[in-house]
């Protein structure tokens, strides 16, 4: 049987292999090693944390503090430094511990990195991959649980990747690091323990390609990140009523794979998009608008989106569970679309 490893281990392995392959790849972030200038750790060449979730554990001992750089708590500083280093020839992979911290560093992406190539008449390249985390479900409360991949995705010049499983996480991260543009690689912190088959060798998964995870002819559900598992659950339940659901894992949020989604809608005529982001100005609404525009004649009903409510993420566990798009909510939405099929 193929080797099964956890989501976070797959990311660690991608970073390891990218660093082994290209010495221009450096990592920067807060406590991505931890324990800088702590005597007993220096003596043993040990990291204290390896990232707040342990994702980068072992990389500092292997590649040294020159390449695995613990920064002060200065997001504007080190994210901007990553842009500068990328523009001048390195291939930095900064870690923004939680995507919610983007407020402390957005200029570096919004006004600097994403625009440089365009403003400079095509002369600059910004080969930088921002690793960050998103997602509710960990009781991390309002300032550590948001899903802002769509916000990054709205900026021209920025690619955004949201993996749902260990295999794609590794392959997409290796693609992101090789990419000559800013790629935001957003990891759902509640998926870190999820295990899946991952080849040991260096391989890439193409950015910009969605994957059909389950084929069906009656209804298309497009998902982002962990919402895949909500859709698969729903598809199982609908199958009991003889309804065949096509489930598409978007994987890349910007630029998202219009071809795969539209082809599927042409077949099924019904579309639900599940997106954990807030309900307005998000990726789901963008998909709905584009599909409505380009595939209107194939639709048998309105395009539906299932998102988080227009509220911050609440702390109390029961409220947080209610906040997250659930199979129940998707089933209710599906029921509105498939009434005609049941008749």
């Amino acid at each position: 049987m193929a080797r099964r490893i956890a989501f976070m281990k797959a990311i660690n392995e991608a970073l390891d292999q990218a660093m082994a392959k290209d010495d221009k790849v450096i990592l920067l972030g807060e406590d991505i090693a931890g324990g800088a200038k702590v005597k007993q750790l220096e003596k043993e060449n040990e990291d204290a944390w390896g990232g707040v979730f342990g994702v980068t554990k072992g990389l500092m001992p292997k590649y040294g503090r020159k390449r695995v750089i613990d920064t002060p708590i200065s997001e504007m500083g080190y994210m901007g430094a990553a842009v500068g280093a990328a523009a001048t020839g390195l291939r930095p992979v900064p870690e923004l511990m939680f995507n919610d911290f983007i407020g402390f560093s957005l200029d570096t992406i919004l006004a600097q990195g994403s625009k440089m190539r365009y403003m400079f008449g095509g002369k600059a390249r910004i080969p930088m991959t921002v690793r960050t985390t998103h997602g509710a479900g960990a009781s991390a409360a309002a300032q550590h649980s948001g899903s802002y991949y769509g916000l990054f995705g709205s900026i021209p010049g920025v690619k955004v990747v949201v993996p749902s499983n260990p295999y794609d996480a590794k392959g997409l991260l290796l693609s992101a690091i090789e990419d000559d543009n800013i790629v935001v690689f957003s990891e759902d912190k509640t998926l870190y323990g999820l295990k899946g088959e991952v080849p040991e060798d260096y391989y890439k998964v193409e950015i910009g390609k969605a994957k059909i995870k389950r084929e069906g002819k009656d209804l298309t559900i497009v998902t982002i990140g962990k919402m895949l598992y909500v859709a698969l659950d729903v598809a199982d339940q609908l199958a009991k009523d003889g309804i065949e659901t096509e489930v598409i894992d978007l994987l890349t949020v910007a630029p998202w794979d219009q071809e795969t989604v539209i082809e599927s809608v042409k077949k099924t005529g019904r579309l639900i998009v599940i997106d954990e982001a807030h309900p307005h100005n998000n990726t789901a609404k963008d998909i709905a608008a584009v599909v409505g525009d380009k595939a209107f004649d194939y639709l048998d009903g309105p395009i539906k989106t299932v998102c988080a409510p227009n509220t911050p993420v609440p702390f109390a566990t029961n409220l947080e569970q209610l906040y997250l798009p659930s199979p129940k909510r998707v089933l209710e939405t599906a029921a509105e679309l498939i009434d005609d099929l049941k008749k």
Partner: protein, 322 residues
């Protein structure tokens, strides 16, 4: 500045014990799984929050940090409601919607623990601006960690406080670490207080395990602020008893070294000794306070455990003001 009297000493001793007991209990309960999320404990740093807040009233403002329970207690927030908040119950200080990292009570002048390191600086500036604008004698105190001093917001805020002579007191809790990173790695200046003069702000470093040292420095600074003489920066050298957050292995804490002189000290025992020696507290009186503090925290836990979780419809409430 008012000299410490018996009544104030008893208040201080109670608050210090409340914080320690609260945090020790939360530590135990977290391990059982009854408290969800990220919890950063204040135990060990009590002398700072209490030494400063001893000079404040409900009309004064404070901004806090992710390690906010201590500031909350010292500022007079209700223990039952605090514990319920950390449990995520509807009776919580924030109706269970904020949790440990966002615990707040604006009615008490407590402008919130903060999940954003460095998020409190500009908010304290805003409160200071308000106090100055309305010509009150109120102050705003900004508590912050050594790690937070490396955010841009520190530099922007302290400079504004200086040029506008705002009634703001910056209280640094230097516990040597920001997460697993020592201050001696992350900061180019040896002391956080070294940075104040660059912005034209009076600054000093005090022994943050010594309640009286904090009390006196804060007293002077707050008096200056109330008199319209502008901001002050106080760096309090201290140590946290637990890990950065619950679950931290703490491999970065040295078994020997500088910071350890603070690790070994207990600010509560030291203050008890001082207060008894100075006849501000009797031994019996101190024992009584300890007992009532234990009971209050036990009661808070019971209150939290018996409270209900928030009603589903509250998810959608309080996004906008009516």
């Amino acid at each position: 500045m008012e000299k410490l009297n018996k009544e104030r000493a008893a208040w201080i001793y109670k608050k210090m014990n409340d914080i320690r007991n609260f945090e020790n209990e939360v530590h135990e309960i977290f391990a059982t799984g009854s408290i969800p999320g990220f919890v950063h404990l204040y135990a060990g740093e009590e002398a700072v929050a209490v030494g400063v807040c001893a000079h404040l009233t409900d009309n004064d403002y404070i901004t806090s940090t992710h390690r906010g329970h201590g500031h909350c207690i010292a500022k007079g927030c209700d223990l039952n409601q605090m514990m319920a908040e950390i449990y995520g119950k509807e009776t919580g200080l924030c109706k269970g919607k904020g949790g440990s990292m966002h615990i707040a009570d604006i009615d008490k002048g407590m402008l919130g623990a903060n999940g954003m390191v460095g998020g409190g600086f500009p908010i304290a500036i805003g409160a200071g601006l308000r106090n100055q604008y309305l010509k009150t004698k109120d102050v705003a105190v900004c508590f912050f960690g050594d790690g937070a001093a490396n955010e841009g917001t520190f530099h922007e805020s302290i400079n504004m406080a200086s040029i506008w002579k705002l009634p703001v007191v910056f209280v640094n809790e230097n516990n040597s670490f920001g997460e697993a990173t020592p201050q001696w790695y992350a900061s180019g200046s040896k002391r956080i207080a070294d940075r104040g003069p660059a912005y034209g702000i009076p600054s000093e470093t005090v022994d943050g395990k010594d309640l009286m040292a904090v009390y006196e420095a804060a007293g002077k600074a707050i008096e200056r602020a109330r008199n319209g003489e502008g901001p002050t920066l106080i760096e309090c050298l201290t140590y946290r008893n637990y890990g950065h957050f619950e679950g931290d292995e703490q491999k970065y804490k040295a078994s020997s070294g500088d910071e350890n002189t603070f690790a070994k000290r207990d600010c509560i025992k030291e203050f008890r000794q001082y207060a008894v020696d100075k006849k501000l507290l009797s031994a019996a009186g101190a024992n009584k306070i300890e007992k009532s503090s234990t009971e209050d925290i036990e009661h808070a836990i019971k209150f939290a455990e018996e409270s209900e979780v928030p009603k589903p419809e509250t998810l959608y409430q309080d996004v906008f003001a009516d």
